[in-house]
Symmetry: C2
């Protein structure tokens, strides 16, 4: 096992009708800014519930945070908070609203140009104003971690930052709030969580027995519930399991003490930036080819994955690996999430364009062994055509 530090102080409040507890969870004298995205939080009644729960608090609102939250939009919220002297944030939404809120929380009292928070990947963050979240979309895990991804619209630069100061103080997870989500967003959430787990699991063995088994537990659960969650949107237990899996997929636990990859994410980010493909859908395109192309260095874990997650025990090593990758691809496709660039009418030109972007963003040594060069990325993308 590798050495590690694990720290996660976010309080999870899980269950139906838990939004009513905001009155207890938000400090009494706080001046609150509620942040949200588009119209769905209003339409499905979540915002109304939040307003009712905070009726004894001083509250303002800021809507319009985009699916890939932009620095430009978020800085408007920063200005509002500064001018109104607000001191507590409440993100109501999915990963984008929460990611955006993390950046805002760190930027409000930041001395200097807040974009530096992103170019330093969070190193310059010394404090942040406190915030909580009401999660409406299980997918990114942002509700219980310290990371965020922000896009600068002017330059189409997408950068991540991490800081212990931006753990949410609390996150309310009410599975019933996901009942009205479009099927496509739920499917994306399943894939997003799946690939988060794979990035922390499918590397090389370091005898992290609990980490491996916990990762496999989450994968097995997603495989079990994935198609059902889409077919039965108002099944409470299915939605509850999805919500808890997606949170645990990226809260630091399964990645503590083991190597991590993240090459699939880095290439996926460029596909989103260039062609506006949903984040999770880019991962579904890249992951199967990534595993196939890097099968030699990942052999031991691929064979473990084949056996423990997909119960594949017969055939040669390469046959079992091929089967496991094919099963992974078929799982994504069963959720109506395509796994080929051709599904988006992208071809060899796109491969070259994305490789160029990777180069200009310095993404030239990716993966757990820093050996995913531009050449490897190109082969991965070509295998995804």
């Amino acid at each position: 096992m590798q050495n590690f530090e694990f720290y996660n102080p976010t309080r999870i409040v899980f269950g139906p009708n838990k939004i009513a507890e905001l009155n207890r969870l938000v400090p009494q004298n706080a001046k609150v800014l509620i942040l949200f995205g588009g119209a769905s939080a209003e339409k499905n009644g979540t915002l109304a519930e939040v307003r009712t729960a905070l009726s004894q608090h001083e509250v303002q609102e800021f809507g319009g945070i985009e699916p890939n939250p932009t620095y430009e939009t978020l800085m408007k919220a920063v200005e509002l908070i500064r001018s109104e002297k607000l001191d507590f944030l409440l993100a109501v939404g999915g990963g984008s609203v929460i990611d955006g809120t993390k950046f805002i929380a760190a930027a409000v009292n930041f001395v200097g140009e807040p974009w530096d928070i992103l170019t330093t990947h969070g190193a310059v963050v010394k404090h942040a104003i406190p915030f909580g979240t009401v999660l409406t979309l299980p997918a990114t895990g942002s509700e219980m971690n310290e990371g965020a991804v922000i896009t600068r619209q002017a330059t189409l630069t997408k950068l991540a930052f991490m800081s212990e100061h931006v753990f949410p103080q609390f996150s309310i997870l009410d599975p019933t709030k996901t009942y009205t989500l479009p099927k496509r967003q739920v499917a994306n959430g399943v894939v997003d969580a799946y690939v988060h787990i794979m990035e922390q699991y499918l590397t090389y063995p370091v005898d992290g027995r609990v980490q491996d088994r916990f990762a496999e537990s989450l994968l097995l659960t997603l495989i079990e519930i994935g198609p059902k969650v889409l077919a039965q949107p108002e099944d409470y237990d299915l939605r509850a399991n999805l919500m808890w899996v997606a949170t645990l997929a990226l809260n630091g636990l399964i990645g503590a003490g083991v190597p991590q990859d993240w090459a699939t994410h880095m290439i996926g980010h460029e596909l989103t930036a260039a062609y506006d493909i949903d984040h999770a859908r880019t991962l579904a395109i890249v992951l199967p080819s990534m595993l196939s192309i890097r099968r030699t260095e990942k052999r031991d874990k691929l064979l473990q994955y084949a056996e423990r997650v997909w119960q594949i025990t017969s055939g040669s090593d390469d046959e079992r690996i091929d089967q496991a990758i094919a099963k992974t691809r078929a799982f994504f496709e069963s959720l109506e999430v395509p796994t080929r660039l051709s599904a988006y009418t992208l071809g060899q030109d796109a491969v070259h364009h994305v490789v160029k972007q990777l180069e200009s963003n310095g993404m030239v040594k990716l993966g757990e062994k820093k050996n995913v060069t531009l050449d490897v990325s190109q082969r991965v993308l070509e295998a995804s055509l």
Copy 2:
């Protein structure tokens, strides 16, 4: 899945040589009291390492915290802290030292008689002085939870309390510090962790798929490493896995959103109080009979346990349950932990004595369904003769 709240702000610092980081982890101007138990922390060099790491801090020491820490001893530490105006505690040891430190932390600034902290099970605790731990014995999970068990020597009363104010701020887990532990203590630790998991897992199904699989992950790992950990005391990865499993076995995670039992623990506590049998060893006596006697209400989970943890798939329901319980018993015995009262030359008289103690301590409705009456406890103990 049941509703839940999960909160755990303890920072885990895991790996060899991490004690040196105390200098960073303990606040700069803190006046520190180092707390420990017997001579082993001195003998194995852990205390020396701690002193070196804290050489730039103002430090005092308090030794002699017993295996079942007593109120009487702990109150002496409370007086020392009050008179010397110390403001940070560092527990160096296993669960007993850490449990004792939690009580001390809550008692120092408590207004009134600190024993009330225990009679109210922690409800009266409004704050505690901050503390960290250096764990030397993987077993109880106290290093990453908010609970403690304290004994009042004068009356032989053993009471537990829980409070969010007594989460350790940090815990240093250095697996190499366990190399010199006596075999018996390591075996006890394996059994203690195993039964902690079972108390949160072996109840009735609520479709907590991740909780179930995480619990099974920890059980499978203990079964895999248990005998090896005893045979190869200086195998780093085995000790690292044991340490991380024991912490995760009782940090709130696997019990969040599912029913919990704890009847085995309550009966075990009385066996320790009456006959001074090591805590873990009392659990090994009680658990197999507890599962057997309550097999009807626990049927679904017993069958799941048989299949997923012990790979038992053939035979009638009762045969599979019997096999799973027999395997559990054999596992404890393989660690040289006896599973019968007779191993301690205790017979029917002891059964009656323990049942009387349960009655006088109000332990008359135990278990996840509050249906473990004195009669059931008696049958469990008789089945353990």
